[in-house]
Every structure is written in C-alpha cells, then in structure tokens.
Assembly symmetry: C2
Homo-oligomer: 192 residues x 2
DNA sequence: CAGAACCTACTTATATGCAGGTAGACATGT
DNA sequence: ACATGTCTACCTGCATATAAGTAGGTTCTG
C-alpha cells in the first residue's frame, strides 16, 4: 500500500480505469499487463489475488479522496467549493472515458463479490455519503444552500443522481452529465 | 421469438434476473441451466450465442414495455398513471432482487459488448426516453405536471435518477428507492 | 548478498460454443 | 393402421479460449 513505485501506480491506474469502465467481472490481469507491457505474474507480485487489487484500489480511492478534501478545507474552501470539487472530479473522469464512479461499478453483482471488496466498497460509499452530508449541513447553515428535506436524504439524492447521470451520459454524451450537475445544484438552491 | 414454450420463458426469466443483478459479464449459461435443471446445450438450442440471448431479452423487454403502456393508454390512463406504472415496475423489480433496470445493466462495459446487444440496448433506452418525453409533454399540457426545463432534458433526468437510485438502493435498501421516486415526483410538480 | 521486480512455465477452473446423437411428438401417405 | 420421415427438445462429449493463481527461476539494485 505504502509501496508506490511507478509500476504499482500504473497497475492501479489501469485497474481503476477498467473497473470504472467495465465493472469487476469485465476486466482481467491480462488487460492491465498488456497496457504496461509486463506479464500477468508481475501483477500477482503486487496483488496476489484480484480481490486484493480491487480492495486496494477502493481503499486508496477513499484515502485519496479524504486527502483532497482536507486540502480544500484547509485552504478555506466553502461548502460550494467542496461540492464543486466533487462535480469536477466526475466531469474529469468522464473525459477520461470512465463511465461510472468506483463505488458504483462495484455495486453491480455486489452479492457475488469477494468479502474484502464488498467491505471496502461500503467504506468508500459511506465515506462519500458522510462527507456530502456534512458539506450539505454546513452549506445549509451558512446559507450557501437552500433545501427542505433532511440532509441525509438529500446527500443520497446527490450521489445517486450523479451515479445515474454518469451511467446514462456514457451513452448520451457529456451534456447529459453537465445538465445533471446543474439539476443537482438547483435542487440545492444553488444558483451561480 | 414467437416460440414461447415454458422452457424458453424460464430461460428468459432467469437470464433477465442475472443480467439485472450482475451485468452481462456476471453470469453464464451455467447459472441459468442449473436453475432450470437442464444442460447448457439446451440453452444453446434456443440461443446459439450469449449475445443472441441477451439481445432477445432486450428486444422482448422493449415490446413488452410497449404493450403494457398501450394497455394503460387504451384504458384512458392519465400521464401520472402512466408514469406511476413505470415507478411501480422499478419497485417491483427491486422487490424481486433485481438491482438495476435492463438498459442500465447493459451500459457497464458497453464498448466491449457484441454489436447486436448494443443496438438492442440503444433501441430500448431510446424507447423509454421517447415514451417518458411524451408522457411528460402530455402531462405538462394537461396540467398534471409542472416544471420549467425542456421536456427532453427532464425525461433524461427521470431516467438517470431512477437508474442511480436503483443502484444505490441495492445497497442502501428500499427506502432509498422510494425516496428517489418521491423526489422525482416533486421535481415534476406532482404532489399526491 | 539480500531483497525487490519481473519472468517462464504450469495448473486448474470456467465460459463459450460446436458436432452430433437420442427420444418422443406429430404428420403423412398408402 | 402403420411404417416412414421429420421436427423439437434435449442430451453427451468435445474443443477452445481465457481467467486466476502457483512455483520457482532470473536479473537488477542498493
């Protein structure tokens, strides 16, 4: 985990890409090794089993997310700025060809997935939901947002709308995602 | 297609189930044949290739959907009643353990899927979008709904919110889906 | 030289699909 | 009536590809 040489980073990079494009069952070590010009066994060297790879991926995503947010908060980012970061990430990943967010891609076929993958995905998902809940609460108190339903429910709404929008936009194009983000904002009473 | 003996129906039944729970790459003929107590080869008898099975599934879904809607319209169903049928279907499928709608489950890994599957999924998706667009337009004209953004955009919103909600609710539970449906309704200016 | 990085070569399991066979239903013609 | 042929549904058995993972060797590097 703390061992982050270039190859390991590249493995995680492409694994993330394939996971978000194709889901857990839609890619293999071969897809990754071919991209890197190495052999399957080399990936097994870093991640003995596929579930180790994907679990590590999700865990890293969670920590990475936490770090990014911490930076924004530290530099005095408002609730809107924090949320905008999340939206920008979605747009950026769309532009990179990733059709769905990591937690979303690991919901398909959830029951049949290895235990550790499921656990890490639940952690990631709850992390995001908790964070959005907090941002919404803060933003509401500070008058940056304006909505009437419970904060927790609205946080779920934000996440699920974005998930669905990413799925649909991978077929319908970028403007579908952009429009969904606008719609989320207006649901928050956020006009810019 | 028109050949609908019991075995064929069962094959489609379980194929639909697995597709909606696990996605295209998440199930095999074996999963289905085991459920039916028959052999893989028997499924190949009806559907020589997996892509034939899934394409047939999507096509059947589209026709089935068209028929159901036609019945409602024929019996004088209002725009709200038509849309409610769609919501009920989502809830019903949730209760059957299906985590995502058929078109959604065939978006994951879309690029790598067989051509005919992609085509049928686009047809199904556009069918649904066109239908919802029409229902929203009619409902708007008749004062059953009230919203200000373009009808086409709002139709996409409805679909994507429901897609995302179904994904998330498969982890977070039924109330997440129920709440999403309420939220969609209130976005349509539909208070009941 | 110790360990990390990467390799070859293998095993095992599973998915997909084809070839061809059998058993029973049904149909027909004489 | 019955012998014949044909069709459907399902089967056994096989071929091929790929995935996932193991064992153990090599090479490079501090």
């Amino acid at each position: 985990m703390t061992d982050m040489n270039p190859t390991n980073q590249q493995i995680l990079h492409y694994a993330r890409h394939f996971l978000q494009c194709r889901g857990y069952n839609g890619f293999s070590y071969k897809d990754i090794s071919q991209k890197l010009g190495i052999k399957n066994a080399s990936i097994h060297h870093y991640y003995p089993k596929k579930e180790d790879l994907v679990a590590a991926l999700l865990e890293e995503g969670r920590k990475n997310f936490a770090t990014s947010i911490a930076q924004i908060v530290e530099s005095g980012g408002s609730a809107r700025e924090q949320l905008q970061y999340y939206f920008n990430r979605a747009l950026q990943e769309f532009d990179e060809g990733k059709c769905i967010c990591p937690p979303g891609s690991v919901i398909i076929g959830f029951e049949e997935l290895p235990e550790e993958v499921k656990n890490q995905n639940l952690l990631l998902l709850d992390h995001i939901l908790d964070w959005i809940t907090n941002v919404l609460r803060t933003g509401l108190e500070k008058g940056e947002f304006n909505f009437s339903d419970p904060v927790e429910a609205h946080a779920e709404e934000v996440v699920e709308t974005l998930m669905g929008a990413r799925l649909l936009s991978s077929i319908k194009g970028r403007k579908t995602l952009v429009r969904a983000i606008s719609s989320i904002k207006s649901g928050l009473g956020w006009k810019d």
